[in-house]
C-alpha cells in the first residue's frame, strides 16, 4: 500500500477531494487549519480570518494504481495554486 500526503490551500479542498473521489480512493482524511511555508507562499494563522484560508493536509492510504490515476489531476491543481504532494510506503496494521 501507498500513503499519499497532500498539502495545499483549504480553498482548493473541494477540487482535490473531487479528484480523489474520481480516482476511487478507498478513503481519505483531512486535517484543516495547517499553516506553513512553501516555495511560493507563507500561510499564517491569520489567513483563516481574512478569508484566504489556511492549508489542508490530506492523507490517503491506497494502492499504487489509484495513485497513478490521481496523479495528473492533482499535479495540475497543485502546480496552479501551489501545494505539495508526496508518496511513501505503508503497510496495513
Amino acid at each position: 500500500m501507498k500513503r499519499l500526503d497532500l498539502i495545499f490551500g483549504e480553498r482548493e479542498l473541494d477540487a482535490i477531494l473531487t479528484a480523489l473521489e474520481a480516482a476511487e480512493v478507498p478513503g481519505y482524511t483531512v486535517l484543516k487549519h495547517a499553516t506553513g511555508k512553501g516555495p511560493q507562499t507563507v500561510v499564517s494563522e491569520d489567513m483563516e480570518f481574512t478569508g484566504l484560508g489556511a492549508n489542508a493536509h490530506v492523507i490517503v492510504f491506497c494502492e499504487l494504481e489509484t495513485i497513478d490515476k490521481v496523479r495528473e489531476n492533482i499535479r495540475s491543481i497543485l502546480s496552479y495554486y501551489g501545494g505539495v504532494a508526496y508518496v511513501s510506503e505503508a503497510t496495513e496494521l
Binding site: V42, E48, G51, L52, A54, Y80, G82
Partner: protein, 331 residues
C-alpha cells in the same frame, strides 16, 4: 483642529484596543487570539451591522437622499478600482494590479463601524441607511477587478480556471462575508416591517453588545495588522506609498461626491470612509480563487497592514476635519 480630532479619536476604546494589539506585536508579547475566535467576532459584527442597517433602512425608506446615495456608492466602487488600476500598472503586472485595485474599490466594514463610533462619541448624527451603501460597495469592485484580469491578462493563462461570468458573479456576490451582511440587512428590514417584538429582543445582542465586541475585535486586528508589517517591507516602497496616499485621494473623491449629494457631515464622513477603506475580508477570498497569479501578500499587507491602521487612527479624524471644512453642518 485636526490634531485635536485625531487625539479625541485615539482616546476612544476601539482605537485604544487597536493600539494595544499593535503594541503587543511590537514588544513581542505572546498575546494571541487563537483561531477561530476572530472569525466569531467578524461573523458577529457583520450580522449585527447588517441587521441594524436593515432596521434603519426600513425606517428611512428609499426616498430622499437614500436612493441617490446608494447609486453614487455603487458608481464609486466601480470607478475607484479603475483609478487604482491605472496607478498600480505603473509598477505591477496585470494580476497584482487588478487584485489590489479590487481591494481598494471594495470596503472595510470594521473601518466603517469605527467611523460610526467616532461620530457617536462626537455627537454627530448619521443615517443607518449608509450600511446599505456599505453592503452595495462590496461586490462591484470585485467584478471590475476580475474584468480587468479578463481583458488584460496574457492569452495563455492556464485554462484550469477559465473565468466564467458565473464564477465571477459567484465569487463577488456570494462570498461568505458579503452574503452574511446582505442577508442580515434583509432580515433586519423584514423584522422591522413585520415583527417589532423581534427588533426589541435582538437589541441586547446586536445593539448593546456591539461596542464591546468591536473593541475585542480591534484588539485582534491590531495584532494581525502589526504582523503584516514585515511583509509590507518586502512589497516595496511603491506599495507602501500607495497604501497611504490612495485612501486620502479616495476620501477626497468621496467627500466631493457627498457634497454633491448634499449629505450631512456624518453621512459624508461615512461615505468618505467607504471610498477610502479597502477590503481584506471579501476581496482576498475572491482573488485567491480567481486570480491565484496575484501575490496574496501584496493585497493583504497593503490593505490590512497599512491602509486599515491609517484609516482607523489618522484617516477618520482627518477626513472629518475635511468634511467640517467643506460641508456645512445642518444643525
Amino acid at each position: 483642529m485636526e490634531t485635536n480630532l485625531i487625539l479625541q479619536n485615539v482616546l476612544t476604546p476601539p482605537v485604544l484596543f487597536f493600539f494595544l494589539g499593535i503594541v503587543a506585536v511590537v514588544v513581542r508579547s505572546d498575546l494571541e487570539i487563537p483561531a477561530p475566535l476572530p472569525k466569531l467576532f467578524s461573523l458577529y459584527l457583520l450580522l449585527a451591522i447588517g441587521f441594524k442597517g436593515g432596521l434603519a433602512l426600513e425606517k428611512s425608506g428609499f426616498g430622499g437622499q437614500v436612493f441617490p446615495t446608494l447609486i453614487a456608492a455603487i458608481l464609486m466602487s466601480l470607478l475607484i478600482p479603475l483609478v487604482c488600476f491605472v496607478i498600480l500598472r505603473l509598477k505591477l503586472d496585470v494580476f497584482n494590479s487588478a487584485a489590489i485595485a479590487a481591494a481598494y474599490g471594495s470596503i472595510s466594514a470594521v473601518t466603517f463601524i469605527t467611523a460610526e463610533s467616532f461620530l457617536e462619541s462626537q455627537n454627530i448624527p448619521f443615517d443607518g441607511f449608509m450600511v446599505a451603501a456599505l453592503a452595495l460597495m462590496e461586490s462591484p469592485a470585485i467584478i471590475v477587478g476580475l474584468l480587468l484580469v479578463k481583458l488584460g491578462a496574457p492569452k495563455n493563462r492556464p485554462n484550469i480556471q477559465e473565468m466564467k461570468w458565473r464564477s465571477i458573479l459567484h465569487e463577488s456576490m456570494l462570498n461568505g462575508s458579503v452574503y452574511l451582511l446582505l442577508g442580515s440587512l434583509v432580515i433586519g428590514f423584514l423584522t422591522a416591517a413585520h415583527n417589532p417584538v423581534g427588533v426589541d429582543k435582538m437589541q441586547p445582542f446586536t445593539g448593546k453588545l456591539f461596542y464591546g465586541a468591536e473593541c475585542f475585535f480591534l484588539l485582534d486586528m491590531g495584532i494581525v495588522a502589526a504582523q503584516r508589517l514585515p511583509s509590507l517591507k518586502k512589497a516595496g516602497s511603491f506599495l507602501i506609498i500607495f497604501a497611504v496616499l490612495i485612501p486620502l485621494l479616495n476620501a477626497c473623491l468621496g467627500i466631493f461626491v457627498a457634497k454633491a449629494l448634499l449629505l450631512g457631515p456624518g453621512n459624508s464622513l461615512l461615505f468618505a470612509i467607504l471610498c477610502a477603506s479597502a477590503s481584506y475580508l471579501a476581496v482576498p477570498a475572491a482573488m485567491r480563487m480567481t486570480v491565484p497569479e496575484a501575490k496574496s501578500s501584496y493585497y493583504i499587507s497593503t490593505t490590512l497592514g497599512l491602509t486599515f491602521p491609517f484609516n482607523i487612527v489618522i484617516g477618520i479624524p482627518l477626513y472629518m476635519g475635511l468634511v467640517n471644512k467643506l460641508i456645512p453642518s445642518i444643525g
